[in-house]
Symmetry: C2
DNA sequence: GTAGCAAAACGAACTAGTTCGTTTGGTAGA
DNA sequence: TCTACCAAACGAACTAGTTCGTTTTGCTAC
């Protein structure tokens, strides 16, 4: 995980490992508890750092939250774009796999969505940029003929996202199911996601 | 709002209007701020009630939250079942309209999903009951031939929910768009929701 | 009508615990 | 010495939940 640059002759000052640890601990904390529920002491403790250091690097709790959100969005967008070349159904499948393997990303987005409008200023430029990138991808697939061109690319993008994350938000699976689904169930869900998107994009209906 | 029963000869004691006001204020507060972000004092003040009364009716903050959640789920399920007779695409459209008109319900579900697993015990029986009811509806439509029977009803139910609520959770529209979409945009989205579900359920593909 | 009563409600103060953000004193390495 | 760091403590504000004396309200009986 650590691409150590100290092996190279470059004098790149080791990028503040304490700050990194704080950010990493904050990531876990905020994803689990949100902004209001997160505890600064817990973040510092889990980072094996002192609060003095935490506030040396970040002014507010909200600033730390914003940093985590931005980092998550960048990583999430990068993971998304990794599969942007695929067909849209397989892209959705890959996104589903990512959501299953790393639920923190979608949790952070949900937290920001629910708590955000009050305190935090989300990195709007970043978001819009990635969104535009996504739209270009959809439009390209439409031009190539594998996606029905009658869809509004913006709508289609949102629909695919909704399909991919539907089990995270659907009340019965989200609230009632304490036991999480096993591997077979997850594979079946993935297949349904892919199939659903296949039907969406199929040209000529 | 007050169906005054005191006019009838029935001795039905007026059902605690203060408790009702507290519950209503709590509904607004929790939907806006969640469990951790909600403030008891604010609830009491907005209910024009005293904290003494609040704690006379509800033991904890969490108990009040649970009461709000249960009430919301009941009302939401009732609204859902109101349109259960429709075709699945139109059902999705009606659900979309409901989500646009009353975003509080989906917000509460999201709050419960994010904050819930720690403190709150969601009304699992209730949720499972409504879920089963939904599944029966889907199965009936499949038997009637208007919905492709090869879908797992459980999956299809979740997919429709994800499609309906996709704009609430999609990062770009949820976080970046401060300005909310106008009536035209909402109508276009609704049309896309209906069309998406149409394509999902179309038998023979 | 009014006296009496009990439940419901008010409101203001209070407790006890929590939490953010700051400060202080001290250690270790460059 | 300077910088990064830690552990601990601290202050101030906030917050859930409690207590208590007072007031209002609905009801019953006289």
């Amino acid at each position: 995980m650590n691409t150590d640059e100290s092996t190279s002759g470059l004098p790149s000052k080791e990028p503040e490992p304490t700050r990194q640890r704080i950010l990493e601990a904050a990531r876990v904390e905020f994803a689990a508890h949100g902004l209001a529920g997160a505890r600064i002491d817990r973040i510092a403790r889990n980072a094996s750092a002192s609060k003095e250091r935490l506030y040396a690097y970040y002014r507010h709790k909200a600033e730390l939250f914003s940093a985590v959100l931005e980092l998550n969005l960048i990583e999430f967008a990068s993971a998304v774009q990794q599969n942007a070349g695929e067909s849209l159904p397989e892209f959705a499948g890959a996104l589903y796999d990512h959501a299953v393997a790393h639920p923190e990303y979608l949790r952070m987005i949900d937290w920001a969505n629910l708590e955000g409008q009050e305190v935090i200023n989300p990195p709007v430029n970043l978001i819009n940029e990635f969104h535009a990138e996504r739209l270009r991808g959809v439009i390209a697939l439409q031009a190539a003929g594998s996606v029905d061109p009658s869809w509004d690319p913006d709508h289609l993008n949102a629909l695919v996202f909704g399909i991919v994350s539907c089990w995270i938000h659907e009340p019965a699976s989200a609230l009632a199911a304490g036991r999480k689904p096993d591997a077979d169930a997850l594979a079946a869900r993935r297949a349904s996601v892919v199939r659903a998107v296949e039907r969406l994009v199929a040209p000529g209906a």
